[in-house]
């Protein structure tokens, strides 16, 4: 049997959403032939959490799920100490999810100084500076299972990962969620009449969709190989971004009718000029229901 890479899945302050989401990875059986969890919160593993914390167990990749705080303990040991212990021996550290990467929703919890491993929202923190270069961030709430699996395979094969400034692989995070959205025609012609769950209409203008300024591949690598939020008729909530979660996720923040957040890299004048032109035309096909029988 080929050598399996040893992976530790360490949950910090987490809802375990990434843990559960990863179970939907369609090729999990194959994955478990190639990787071995020395510890995982829900998958059977050779060691208990106590053993992981107390003993010196060989490990190749450390996966961190959940936000970090000096106050938070696992098996009576500070999670920060556990991370320090394993980061010394592993080849790579992967922050799985937005909490482990940027702090996420648990920044609102009662724990003190909650943050991600290297970032507190957009701000870089120095606590783990020595391991910055061997970290990969996979933000998302949750992280897409295929993004996690493919990244681990890339690490296994020692493939070079091109990372953005938040250490996210560009392969998955250089795109926006808008890329591949099947509502692009509605966006182009500013057809904003949308009701949640409907096939028609773009959700950027009124319903809070953050797809044009959110870095992720949700419309390129579909969820459960089937769908994405925007395809199903729910706005992208920007879950891969340092600012996640914002408030009022289902309403587009506008100032005098102009969306406060514009598609990445598009200047206000360029946006308004294009929008003014698009809005001038009424495209009948896009105003109607796709299926009217």
């Amino acid at each position: 049997m080929k050598k399996r890479m040893k992976v530790l899945w360490l949950s910090a302050i987490a809802c375990n959403g990434n843990t559960h989401s990863f179970l939907n990875y369609p090729y999990i059986e194959q994955f478990l032939n190639d990787f071995e969890f020395i510890y995982h919160p829900v998958i059977d593993s050779d060691y208990t959490l106590q053993e992981i914390v107390l003993k010196d167990i060989p490990c190749d990749i450390l996966l961190i799920e959940g936000s970090l705080s000096d106050e938070f303990k696992k098996a009576d040991v500070s999670v920060i100490e556990i991370i320090k212990k394993y980061t010394k021996k592993v080849k790579k550290i992967v922050t799985v999810g937005t909490c482990a990467t940027f702090g996420g929703i648990f920044r609102e919890s009662d724990y003190k100084d909650v943050s991600g491993l290297h970032f507190n929202q957009e701000k870089r923190i120095d606590k783990f500076q020595d391991i910055f270069k061997k970290t990969v961030s996979l933000s998302g709430c949750p992280t897409h299972p295929e993004v996690l699996a493919n990244t681990l395979y890339a690490i296994k094969k020692s493939a070079e990962l091109h990372l953005d400034s938040f250490l996210r692989p560009k392969e998955y995070y250089a795109y926006t969620v808008h890329n591949g959205c099947i509502r692009n025609e509605y966006f182009e012609y500013k057809v904003d009449k949308h009701k949640f769950g409907e096939l028609e209409g773009c959700m950027f203008y009124d319903n809070g969709c953050q797809a044009p300024f959110t870095h992720a591949s949700c419309n390129k690598i579909l969820w459960n190989e089937v769908n994405s939020k925007t395809r199903a008729g729910v706005p992208c909530v920007g879950c891969t971004e340092p600012s996640f979660p914002k408030q009022n996720l289902f309403i587009t923040k506008k100032n005098m009718g102009i969306p406060e957040n514009l598609p990445i890299g598009v200047g206000k004048r360029a946006y308004l000029t294009l929008a003014g032109i698009s809005k001038a035309f009424k495209i009948d096909r896009l105003e109607k229901k796709l299926f009217d029988d």
Partner: protein
């Protein structure tokens, strides 16, 4: 297009603009415009293929002219209150120095929609101008000076007021020069739009 040709085009638009504004759109013919410019009618058609096309180009020309002026104000590091006053000043200054521009907008563009229906749908031909007004509003709301509301309710208040004053001036109904109303109108508009 060469600078020379562009210059000539602008010269034609300026003359046509004056004629349209003074004589009316339908009473002004291409030969009238050519005569004013001491150009042959044939040569005129090298620049504009029809009177309707010329009419549409003129409204874009005015929109770009005013849009550029407002853009300069938008890019200044001043309060929304000061911006409001400066936009009103520039609008009235244009109405005084180049009355044909505002007249054209009010009396030709808004009154002869059939000429503009193909090619000037919605606000396409006044895009530069409207975009700058939008930016003025948007930035005013963002910095907490203006109250958030529907764009058109604010736009109507702003442009309807200014257009109305210029129209009254054009009808020789206003007893005073436009400039002398700037203080009060700036006060009124800012008060109506601010938080």
């Amino acid at each position: 297009m060469s600078d020379r040709k562009q210059g000539k085009k602008e010269q034609i638009m300026q003359v046509a603009l004056e004629l349209f504004a003074s004589k009316g759109f339908y009473s002004t013919t291409i030969p009238d415009i050519a005569t004013s410019l001491k150009m042959s009618v044939g040569n005129m058609y090298n620049y504009f293929k029809s009177k309707d096309i010329l009419a549409r180009e003129i409204i874009k020309y005015i929109s770009i002219y005013l849009g550029k002026k407002i853009r300069v104000i938008n890019e200044e590091d001043i309060s929304t209150k000061e911006k409001t006053r400066k936009i009103i000043e520039i609008y009235f200054k244009t109405a005084t120095k180049k009355p044909e521009m505002i007249d054209y907008f009010l009396r030709i563009y808004l009154s002869n929609r059939e000429v503009f229906k193909d090619g000037c749908e919605g606000m396409i031909c006044v895009n530069e101008f409207v975009t700058e007004v939008m930016i003025y509003f948007e930035e005013g709301v963002k910095c907490g000076d203006l109250r958030d509301q529907d764009f058109f309710s604010a736009f109507g208040l702003f442009m309807g007021y200014l257009g109305g004053m210029v129209f009254l001036k054009g009808e020789n109904i206003l007893p005073k020069e436009l400039d002398s109303y700037i203080d009060d109108i700036s006060f009124n508009i800012y008060k109506a739009l601010s938080l």
